[in-house]
């Protein structure tokens, strides 16, 4: 009850709107360039809130790829960790190479060799440490609002450091659960986004956004996916849910929240929902010589 009061603005001394972070902002704060992190840390008032859906997206984009790489690199066919990295990067084109390269450069900076078979296992263990550290960091840096209309079940438990001999088993279980999309879908309630009136109305508002410029393509995809889902909510899959993720995050927020994002599509979505929103500048823009004190775009 105390938590509920706090979330609904029970303390009058606090600012009216609380900071809710989209996955894009979360990622920058977790693994971004130090200059970008410094900027975002200053620009986004604490406390930083996320929900279960944002956590799922963060795991999907970053940690699950690292977990897959960890187990892939175990294969004897990869003589070195670099082999596994290259295979993973070439074979699964959808995985952002920058995320894999981030691991590689980190390992090399620490003095682990990507090309020495003797160092392969050390690299794997270091990657495992990073996975657990980032998962723990996520839980300490962000507060879960507990509000997720989809009740996404892909990440069912916090990823905490187990006993040494159980680490592999815990990561394996996390991965098996996450990628068992049929089971996850049978447990979730994403159809609430289209069946519960307060969310359905807002989804409808997002689906009719008329976008121009750079966000046109992204908004177009979201609108098409929403329209399809409205017709048959029971047919929504984890994959199609992923394509309306930006809308799901924004629609689940009410006027108590201010959405912080790096994604320009969120500006239009938030406008359509009359939701307070701030789009923070990209690193490229931040590092431009003439943008010493960048103004946010929100």
């Amino acid at each position: 009850m105390k938590r509920q009061n706090e979330l609904s603005g029970g303390k009058s001394s606090e600012p009216r709107s609380k900071s809710f972070l989209d996955t894009s902002a979360v990622q920058k704060l977790q693994i971004g360039h130090s200059r970008h992190k410094e900027y975002l840390t200053e620009a986004i008032p604490k406390t930083w809130y996320v929900n279960n859906y944002v956590r799922m997206e963060f795991f999907r984009t970053l940690l699950m790829n690292w977990v897959s790489l960890y187990f892939e690199s175990e294969q004897p066919s990869h003589k070195t960790f670099g082999d596994a990295l290259k295979y993973f990067s070439d074979e699964f084109g959808r995985v952002p190479k920058s995320i894999l390269n981030g691991v590689a450069s980190m390992l090399e900076v620490e003095g682990f060799s990507m090309s020495d078979p003797a160092d392969k296992e050390y690299c794997r263990q270091k990657l495992q440490d990073v996975i657990f550290a980032i998962a723990f960091q996520f839980d300490t840096a962000f507060v879960n609002t507990g509000i997720d209309p989809t009740s996404c079940t892909r990440v069912r438990h916090a990823l905490r450091l187990p006993l040494a001999e159980e680490r592999d088993a815990v990561l394996r279980q996390l991965s098996l659960t996450f990628y068992d999309v049929a089971e996850c879908r049978s447990r979730c309630k994403v159809e609430n986004m289209f069946g519960v009136k307060k969310y359905a109305d807002r989804m409808q508002a997002v689906s009719v956004i008329h976008a121009v410029g750079t966000a046109k393509q992204a908004i177009g995809k979201i609108s098409a996916a929403i329209t399809k889902a409205q017709g048959a909510p029971e047919n929504i899959t984890c994959r199609s849910c992923g394509s309306i993720g930006d809308a799901v995050i924004a629609v689940s927020l009410d006027q108590l929240w201010k959405l912080h994002s790096m994604d320009n599509a969120h500006r239009l979505i938030a406008e359509s929902l009359q939701l307070e929103c701030e789009i923070h500048p990209s690193l490229k823009r931040l590092l431009k010589p003439d943008s010493e004190q960048p103004e946010s775009e929100g």
């Binding site: 920058s98 620490e110 263990q125 990073v130 450091l161 001999e165 394509s243 994604d263």
Partner: protein, 251 residues
């Protein structure tokens, strides 16, 4: 188990007619041989020690064999006190293993490497040994900051962390120690070029606290993480820069 501290004392015995110089030479040879055996790191006792141990009895020799398989030797400095100024006077304080420490005239042997038993598969021992190394480099770095040699010390510290990680990462008993070292690496990485002496001092305190813990479990590591966050002010950093790819969060 065989305890070197209780082994029979064996001093170099001066043969009849042996001069002080010859006696000194013999003692030096003895010391040199002993130091060589110690420096092997994981080889355990040398043959001379075994021979000495065999005088205690068969059971002790058997103990010695298993002892040799499980222990490693790490040197520990022992200060030898002497105020001798007489060239002809030989002081032979008996060390823990019966080897004489020598000070002859102005030639002071101030530091004698003295072995101490560490079982490196035993996590608290390895932790103590590892953090002692790191703390010593921290101390040196605190002095070197702002000096040209700081970069060398930093390089040594990074190499030490990597070596320590490799030494502990593959053994389940010491796996959490590797995680602690990994956290240290991850937190220090963005700050290597501009680390402050005060920060090092705070991390030293955290490491001392970590050393004092009876067990390195998940709770201890989580507190260590939080303490590092307080000191370094920034969470773990991986410096991934690619904007377009990172922003792709849809599945």
């Amino acid at each position: 188990m065989f305890s070197p501290a209780t082994a029979p004392v064996s001093r170099p015995i001066a043969a009849e007619g042996m001069s002080a110089t010859e006696y000194l030479q013999k003692s030096r040879d003895d010391l040199r041989g002993f130091a060589t055996r110690c420096s092997r790191g994981t080889v355990g006792l040398g043959s001379a020690d075994e021979e000495r141990a065999s005088t205690i009895g068969d059971s002790t020799t058997r103990d010695l064999q298993s002892f040799r398989e499980t222990i490693s030797w790490f040197p520990r400095s022992k200060k030898i006190e002497t105020d001798s100024t007489d060239d002809n006077q030989i002081h032979s304080p008996i060390g823990r293993f019966g080897y004489p420490a020598i000070a002859l005239g102005q030639t002071f042997l101030r530091e004698l490497e003295r072995p101490e038993r560490f079982v490196i598969t035993f996590e608290p021992h390895l932790r103590r040994y590892t953090f002692k190394q790191i703390l010593s480099l921290f101390e040196r770095l605190q002095v070197d900051i702002g000096q040209p040699q700081a970069a060398t010390t930093l390089s040594e510290l990074r190499a030490t962390l990597t070596t320590a990680y490799k030494r502990s990462a593959l053994n389940p008993e010491t796996r959490n120690l590797a995680t602690a070292i990994s956290l240290l690496q991850d937190f220090l990485r963005p700050h290597w070029s501009r680390i402050a002496a005060e920060s090092l001092n705070e991390i030293r305190k955290d490491l001392l606290w970590l050393t004092s813990q009876s067990e390195l479990n998940a709770q201890v590591l989580q507190k260590f993480y939080r303490d590092l966050t307080v000191v370094m002010g920034q969470p773990l950093s991986f410096e991934i820069n690619d904007e377009d790819e990172l922003d792709e969060t849809t599945e």
